[in-house]
C-alpha cells in the first residue's frame, strides 16, 4: 500500500514537474543571467547547469553557459557549450563569433582540410537556417508547391498554368532541399558524433590500446569527430583529417 502511495506521489510530482520544469527553468535562467551580469560566473554556471538537469536545452541556454565558462577561463567547457548550441542553430552569428574567440584561447591550432567548392556551398547553405527553421521552410515550400499545383491544374488561361508549373517545380526543389537539410541537422543533433578534448594533454594512439604508438598530441579544447567507439576507446578524426584513437574518458561528446 505504501509503495503505491509513493508511486502515485511520484507520478503526481513528476507530472507537476514536467509542467513546472519550463517555468522553473526560465526562473533559473534569469537568475543565472543576473549572476553573470554581476560577474559571479561560478554561480551562473551552477544555475544554468540546473536548467540543463531539468532536461531542457536551447540556444540561449547553451550560449550563455559557454559565456560563463569563458569568463571562468574554462575554455574547453566554453567551446563544448558553444558547439552544442551550434548544433541546434548553426546560423547563429553570436555563437560563431564567441566560438571563434574561445578557439583562439586553446593550445591546438589545426588547419582544416579545405572543402571542395560544392561541399562548401552545401555546408554554407545548410548553415543559413537552424534545424527548426529548415523544418518550417519545408512546410512553407510544401504549401506553396501545392498552391502552384492548384494553379497548374485549375487555371483556365494557359499562361497561368505555365506559371503554376514552373513555380511548382521550384517549390518542390526547395521543399526537397529543406527536408534534406532539416534531416541532416536533426541527425547531427540527435547523435553524439563530436567531442571536445577535456584532458590538458593527451596522446592520440595508433590503435585502441595504451601500448600502441603515439601518433600526435592533442590539448584540451580541441574538437574531434568520433568515427567509432568501442571498449572505452574512440576512433577520432581532427579537422585536418588525421585519425587516431583516444580513450573515451579524455573527451566530452556532444
Amino acid at each position: 500500500m505504501k509503495k503505491y502511495t509513493l508511486l502515485i506521489c511520484l507520478l503526481i510530482v513528476s507530472g507537476l514537474g514536467l509542467v513546472r520544469a519550463q517555468e522553473n527553468g526560465e526562473t533559473w535562467f534569469e537568475q543565472a543571467n543576473a549572476a553573470y551580469n554581476a560577474g559571479r560566473y561560478d554561480t551562473a554556471v551552477i544555475l544554468y547547469e540546473k536548467v540543463v538537469d531539468l532536461g531542457m536545452e536551447s540556444v540561449p541556454l547553451y550560449y550563455n553557459m559557454g559565456n560563463a565558462y569563458y569568463k571562468k577561463q574554462d575554455y574547453p567547457m566554453a567551446i563544448y557549450y558553444y558547439e552544442k548550441a551550434l548544433k541546434i542553430d548553426p546560423s547563429n552569428e553570436e555563437l560563431q563569433t564567441n566560438l571563434a574567440i574561445a578557439n583562439r584561447a586553446i593550445v591546438d591550432k589545426i588547419e582544416p582540410v579545405p572543402e571542395s567548392f560544392i561541399e562548401k556551398g552545401w555546408h554554407n547553405m545548410r548553415t543559413w537556417l537552424s534545424g527548426n527553421q529548415w523544418a518550417w521552410c519545408s512546410i512553407i515550400a510544401f504549401a506553396l508547391f501545392l498552391a502552384a499545383l492548384l494553379l497548374f491544374l485549375r487555371a483556365r488561361r494557359i499562361g497561368l498554368r505555365k506559371l503554376g508549373f514552373f513555380t511548382g517545380l521550384l517549390f518542390l526543389i526547395l521543399f526537397g532541399l529543406s527536408v534534406v537539410f532539416a534531416l541532416q541537422l536533426r541527425q547531427a543533433a540527435m547523435t553524439e558524433d563530436q567531442a571536445i578534448i577535456m584532458t590538458p594533454t593527451v596522446n592520440v594512439k595508433s590503435s585502441p590500446s595504451n601500448a600502441s604508438v603515439d601518433l600526435f598530441v592533442l590539448h584540451e579544447g580541441t574538437k574531434v569527430s568520433i568515427l567509432e567507439s568501442a571498449d572505452g576507446w574512440n576512433k577520432i578524426r581532427i579537422a585536418n583529417g588525421s585519425v587516431g584513437y583516444l580513450p573515451e574518458a579524455s573527451m566530452l561528446p556532444f
Binding site: G55, V59, P60, L150, R154, L185, R186
Partner: protein, 619 residues
C-alpha cells in the same frame, strides 16, 4: 745561493789547476701545485757563453734568467783548487695540472757544448691550503732571503674570510645583504679579489662603502678570541627564483705579514743572522695567502599564490604609493602631468610601475621614470616616480581611473594593495580646436579598446526538451498532412464550382429558345400597336439574349465580333452566321434610325423568327 765566500791566499808561486770536466746541472722541485711559484736553477761549473734555456712548456716564466757567478779557490796540501759556478735561475709558475718535461739547456764552454739532463715536474691540483710563497725570492731585486722550504705558514684560524648574510631564508625578490668580512689576527696588506661570486639566480648590487679607500675595521670576538674584522664587500642580493640557492664563495688574495721566529735557529749563516736583526726589520715575512669564504645555501621561498592580487607585478618590500596631478580643469590641447610615486624599502630598481588607463581621446607620452635609491642597513630603499605628460584632444568630462599597486611584504608575509585616487578631468574646448588647427577634420576611426566575447542572450530562453526537433516530430507530419488535405479539399471545391458554372451555361442554352419566343411574342404585340421604340428594344433583346445564352457568352463581352467568332468556333455554317449578324445589324440600325415603315418592322420580325429557328436547329 748567493753566498760568496772568498779565501785569499797570499804568495803562491805554484798554481795547480785541478778542474773537473765542465757540466751543466739542474735543480728544481719535482712536484709543485697549480699556481705555485718555484725556481729552476741551472748550474755550470765552468764559464761559458751562449746559454740556451729550454722552453718551459706547461709553465709560465715569471722571471729570469738571473745569472750569478761564484768562484772559490782552495789549497789543500799544496794543491790549489779553483771552483767557478755560474748559475742561471728561472722563476716559473705552474698554471695547469699534469706532468711536464723540462727540456735540456745548453751552454758553450770553450768551444764544446754541454747540456743538462731533461727532467719531469709533476703539477698537482691546488688543495687551497697552501700558502703561496710570497713575491720574495725570485722576483727581481727586492728579493729577500726567504725560501719556499722555510716559509712560515699562516693558519686558517689566524686569517679567514667569511660571508655574513642578513638572513638565512628569504622570499623571491626579497633583499638580503651579504657582508664579506675578513677576520685576522695578523697584519694584512694588499687585498685583491681573485674570484668574485657568480650570484647565479640573483639580482645583485654592490653597496660597499669604499669612501676614503679604507676598509672599515672593528674588533670582534669569535669563540673568545679577538679578531680584527674588515668589511671587504657588501652586496645586496635579491633571489629571482625559489628553491635552495647556493652562493659561491669569494676568493681573495692577501699578503699576511708574519713575524719569523722559528727561522732563526735554523740559519747557520752569520751574515744572515746579522741582517735579520730586528733593527733591520727582517724578521717579518710576507706570506701571500689565498682566502676562500664559506659558501652558504639561501633558502628561497616562493611567493604565496593565495590572495595574490591581480595588480601584483613582482614587487617585494614595504612601499608607499601615491599619485599627484597638477590640474584637473583645462582646455583641449593643453597638457597636464600625472605622477605616480612608489617609495619604500625593497628592490626599487627592479620595480615595475603600475600603468594607468587613460581615456582614448587623451594623447599620452611615454612616462618619464626616475629612480633614486639609498643604501640602508636593511638593503636598498628609495623612490620611483613615473611622470605622465597627457594632452586631452577632445572636450568633455573624463575619468582617469584609480591605479592599483600591489606588493608582497616579507615582514608579515602578506600582499598589500595600495590604490591611487581616480581623477575627474574637465576638458573645455580650447581656441585651437575649432576645425582646422592640428586636426583637419574631427572625424576619426572608431577605436577598438578590447576584444571580448559577445554578451549573453537575455529574454525568453525558448527552452524545450533536450533532443527534440520540430522536423520529424508528429507536429511536423500533422502540418504536412493538413496542407495536403487542404489541397485536396480545395481541388474538389474548385472542380465542383466549375461544374456548376457549366451547368448554368447548359440551362441558359436550354431556356434560350423559350426566352427568345417570349420576347418575340411581346414584340409582335408592340408591332400590332405600332409602338416602334418598344418593338425594336424587344427584338434586339430577343436576338442578343438568345445568341448570348446559346453560345455561353457573358453579357459584358457581347459584341458583333465575339458573336461571329464564337459561332465560327462552334462550326456554325457561314451563311447562318452571316444571316444572324445581318439581322442583328438591321435591327440595331432600325432601332437608332426612327421613322421607318411598318413593312420594315414586319419584315424584321419575320427574319428574326427565321434565324432563331434556324439557329435552334444547328446549336
Amino acid at each position: 745561493m748567493k753566498r760568496l765566500v772568498i779565501l785569499f791566499l797570499m804568495l803562491s808561486p805554484l798554481w795547480l789547476w785541478a778542474q773537473d770536466d765542465p757540466t751543466l746541472t739542474v735543480s728544481a722541485k719535482k712536484q709543485v701545485m697549480v699556481g705555485e711559484r718555484f725556481q729552476v736553477v741551472f748550474s755550470a761549473n765552468a764559464d761559458g757563453r751562449n746559454f740556451t734555456a729550454p722552453s718551459f712548456e706547461g709553465f709560465t716564466v715569471v722571471g729570469g734568467p738571473f745569472t750569478s757567478t761564484s768562484s772559490s779557490i782552495q789549497m789543500v796540501n799544496g794543491s790549489v783548487t779553483r771552483t767557478t759556478t755560474n748559475s742561471y735561475t728561472f722563476a716559473l709558475q705552474a698554471y695547469k695540472e699534469g706532468t711536464f718535461r723540462v727540456g735540456p739547456a745548453s751552454l758553450n764552454v770553450k768551444g764544446t757544448k754541454i747540456t743538462s739532463e731533461p727532467f719531469d715536474i709533476k703539477v698537482v691540483p691546488d688543495d687551497g691550503s697552501h700558502a703561496a710563497p710570497s713575491g720574495g725570492g725570485a722576483s727581481s731585486g727586492q728579493s729577500q732571503a726567504q725560501q719556499n722550504t722555510n716559509d712560515p705558514q699562516v693558519s686558517g684560524k689566524d686569517l679567514f674570510l667569511r660571508v655574513v648574510p642578513s638572513k638565512k631564508s628569504a622570499y623571491v625578490g626579497e633583499q638580503v645583504v651579504l657582508t664579506y668580512k675578513l677576520y685576522t689576527k695578523v697584519p694584512v696588506s694588499s687585498l685583491s679579489v681573485v674570484k668574485a661570486p657568480s650570484y647565479a639566480g640573483f639580482w645583485t648590487k654592490d653597496i660597499s662603502d669604499n669612501t676614503g679607500g679604507t676598509l672599515r675595521q672593528s674588533s670582534e670576538y669569535i669563540n673568545g678570541i679577538e679578531y680584527t674584522s674588515a668589511e671587504i664587500q657588501k652586496v645586496v642580493v635579491a633571489p629571482q627564483r625559489a628553491g635552495k640557492l647556493t652562493l659561491d664563495p669569494m676568493v681573495i688574495e692577501c699578503i699576511a705579514q708574519i713575524r719569523r721566529e722559528n727561522n732563526r735557529q735554523r740559519s747557520m749563516d752569520p751574515f744572515e743572522e746579522f741582517f735579520n736583526d730586528p733593527f733591520f726589520n727582517r724578521n717579518i715575512t710576507n706570506v701571500k695567502k689565498e682566502l676562500t669564504s664559506n659558501s652558504f645555501v639561501l633558502e628561497v621561498k616562493s611567493l604565496p599564490e593565495a590572495n595574490k592580487p591581480a595588480s601584483f607585478a613582482g614587487a617585494v618590500g614595504n612601499y608607499n604609493f601615491k599619485s599627484d596631478i597638477d590640474m584637473t580643469e583645462l582646455k583641449t590641447n593643453e597638457a597636464f602631468t600625472l605622477t605616480y610615486t612608489v617609495s619604500g624599502t625593497g628592490n626599487i630598481e627592479l620595480l615595475q610601475m603600475p600603468e594607468p588607463v587613460f581615456p582614448p581621446d587623451f594623447e599620452v607620452y611615454d612616462p618619464k621614470i626616475t629612480t633614486s635609491t639609498d643604501v640602508t642597513a636593511n638593503g636598498l630603499s628609495g623612490t620611483k616616480k613615473a611622470e605622465y605628460l597627457v594632452i586631452p584632444r577632445r572636450a568633455g568630462s573624463f575619468t582617469v581611473p584609480a591605479v592599483e599597486f600591489s606588493f608582497f611584504n616579507p615582514s608579515n608575509g602578506a600582499y598589500q594593495t595600495l590604490s591611487s585616487k581616480p581623477y575627474e578631468i574637465q576638458v573645455e574646448k580650447g581656441r585651437d580646436d575649432e576645425g582646422g588647427g592640428i586636426y583637419a577634420s574631427n572625424q576619426e576611426d572608431i577605436k577598438y579598446l578590447g576584444n571580448d566575447i559577445r554578451h549573453i542572450m537575455t529574454g525568453d530562453p525558448r527552452l524545450r526538451p533536450q533532443r527534440s526537433a520540430f522536423f520529424g516530430s508528429s507536429a511536423y507530419y500533422v502540418a504536412l498532412l493538413a496542407l495536403l488535405l487542404a489541397f485536396i479539399l480545395l481541388l474538389i471545391l474548385l472542380k465542383n464550382r466549375e461544374k456548376m458554372e457549366k451547368d448554368t451555361a447548359a440551362t441558359r442554352n436550354r431556356k434560350a429558345d423559350k426566352v427568345a419566343r417570349g420576347r418575340l411574342k411581346r414584340a409582335a404585340q408592340f408591332l400590332k400597336e405600332k409602338d416602334q421604340d418598344k418593338f425594336y428594344v424587344e427584338m434586339s433583346q430577343a436576338l442578343w439574349g438568345y445568341i448570348a445564352d446559346k453560345l455561353g457568352i457573358e453579357r459584358s463581352k457581347l459584341s458583333m465580333d465575339t458573336v461571329s467568332e464564337t459561332m465560327k468556333e462552334k462550326s456554325v455554317p457561314d451563311e447562318l452566321t452571316q444571316q444572324f449578324v445581318d439581322t442583328l445589324n438591321s435591327c440595331e440600325f432600325a432601332r437608332f434610325a426612327p421613322g421607318s415603315a411598318e413593312e420594315k418592322m414586319d419584315d424584321l420580325y419575320q427574319r428574326g423568327i427565321e434565324v432563331i429557328s434556324k439557329a435552334e436547329k444547328v446549336l
